[in-house]
């Protein structure tokens, strides 16, 4: 059996392509024992810990793929800390007002953090005014192909990899199709707003 270590998992995740889901599953299995540790250490229900662990693995994958994991600590230490912090958040959820931090952390991945304060404030006002339910509904209406393409893009796959997976002729076609999908969505949202 192949010895699974950090390098093996990291290179598999970074290599991308059709093999990436396999390495995501390997990562999930690799630190699976944390679920029991979390349940024991924080007195949480094991099913709750499993859900927290899933969130942890999703976080780790995202940080590895987007280059936010700099390998300053081992993958084990990295995953362990995120998991334990999430367990503490889970414990706080229903106990004190400190649990409020949990609601906020859900938004920390938002792209808006890339904008400087003043611009972010103005754009945030626009987002606050927008109809989130309408947007969700319009994303659903986009069609399977557009949705899959946008999901793969959001998952960190580059246009070339998406072209291979979805059998497009080239990366350039993927890019154009993606922009058209976003344009279609934009039109759906704005035309609904104008009709209202």
């Amino acid at each position: 059996m192949k010895n699974i270590d950090d390098t093996y998992i990291l290179s598999g995740l970074l290599e991308g392509g059709i093999k990436r889901p396999l390495f995501e599953r390997k990562l999930y299995e690799h630190f699976f024992y944390l679920i029991k540790q979390g349940a024991w250490k924080y007195g949480l229900d094991e099913d709750v810990c499993a859900s927290v662990y899933s969130d942890t693995v999703i976080n780790v994958i995202e940080n590895v793929v987007t280059g936010r994991y700099h390998a300053k600590s081992s993958l084990k230490t990295y995953a362990y800390r995120i998991f334990m912090n999430k367990c503490v958040d889970e414990m706080r959820k229903n106990s004190t007002n400190k649990g409020k931090v949990n609601n906020k952390t859900k938004e920390i991945d938002s792209l808006i953090l890339n904008l400087p304060d003043k611009a972010a404030g103005i754009v945030q006002q626009m987002i606050d005014k927008s109809d989130k339910l309408l947007l969700m509904q319009k994303v659903e209406e986009l069609g399977e192909k557009c949705r899959k393409l946008l999901l793969l893009f959001e998952d960190g796959y580059n246009d070339k990899e998406i072209a291979q997976q979805m059998e497009y002729n080239s990366a350039e076609v993927v890019k154009t199709t993606r922009l058209r999908c976003l344009e279609k969505l934009r039109e759906k949202v704005f035309s609904k707003k104008q009709n209202d």
């Binding site: 938002s110 611009a119 994303v139 934009r186």
Partner: protein, 251 residues
């Protein structure tokens, strides 16, 4: 309109030059229609990312259920075979003995300043707590990012708050801690020095944290400097004085 979407996408993928970036950011501030386009783009991407996370979570939760049912089968097997149960008992006892031995070694072995600092950081600074006045959303956001080890976002948030009068001390303290846990000791020391200069705080841990950083950095002369600071912390009964009193003889 595709051009606008492409332009927005280029910004968020980091494909614009510094000048183009600044232009983009100015446009968000002065052109409401453009700000609305950017808002929609962000909302769409956030929405799709949530969908993606939900999808992955479903897959992982499925794996958990599958593994749990297998483990249940294995536990049932152990219950039905006392020999396996005995093996587990022996392993547990051996592990306990090893732990005792390890504990003894740790207790009777002198700790270096670096070890003391590492242990302190591991136990106290890997997770930030929310201040009693939890009304500051941005600060909470930064703390949330820190606790999820998203240090890039946390740094951005704390850095922007460090210029605001009311939140500056807490933001600077958190920035210093962030640099300390990410091994950027020089930056951490600078932040803690700035923090120490706030004289109107009820409790200021700046000096103590600076000493911890010096101990952790462990360059020539750092231990001596840390010792001087810790003595000062003890004499003035500053935050961290209890730890300082424990450590002072080992430096």
């Amino acid at each position: 309109m595709i051009d606008t979407i492409e332009y927005i996408e280029k910004y968020f993928r980091g494909n614009l030059s510094d000048e183009e970036k600044a232009q983009f950011e100015r446009k968000c501030e002065v052109d409401p229609a453009f700000a609305e386009e950017v808002g929609l783009y962000i909302s769409v991407r956030d929405n799709i990312r949530k969908g993606l996370h939900a999808e992955k979570k479903r897959q992982f939760d499925g794996m958990y259920k599958e593994r749990s049912s297998k483990n249940k089968g294995a536990t049932d097997l152990v219950k039905s075979r006392p020999f396996l149960k005995n093996i587990r008992t022996y392993i547990t006892l051996t592990a306990a003995c090893l732990l005792l031995l390890l504990g003894w070694m740790v207790f009777f072995t002198e700790s270096s300043p670096k070890q003391l600092a590492s242990t302190y950081i591991e136990n106290n600074l890997q997770m930030l707590s929310v201040p009693m006045d939890a009304s500051q959303d941005s600060l909470q956001l930064g703390i949330g990012a820190f606790n999820q080890q998203d240090y890039v976002s946390a740094e951005k948030i704390f850095r922007s708050l460090a210029n605001q009068d009311k939140l500056a001390p807490e933001a600077i303290k958190n920035l210093g801690i962030l640099y300390l846990v990410t091994d950027e000791y020089d930056k951490a020391i600078r932040e803690f020095e700035v923090l120490s200069e706030f004289t109107n705080l009820r409790a200021n841990p700046g000096a103590f944290y600076k000493a911890v950083t010096l101990m952790k950095r462990d360059e020539s002369g750092d231990a001596e400097k840390a010792k001087e600071i810790l003595e000062d912390v003890i004499n003035k009964n500053l935050p961290g004085s209890k730890e300082a009193a424990k450590w002072i003889n080992e430096l």
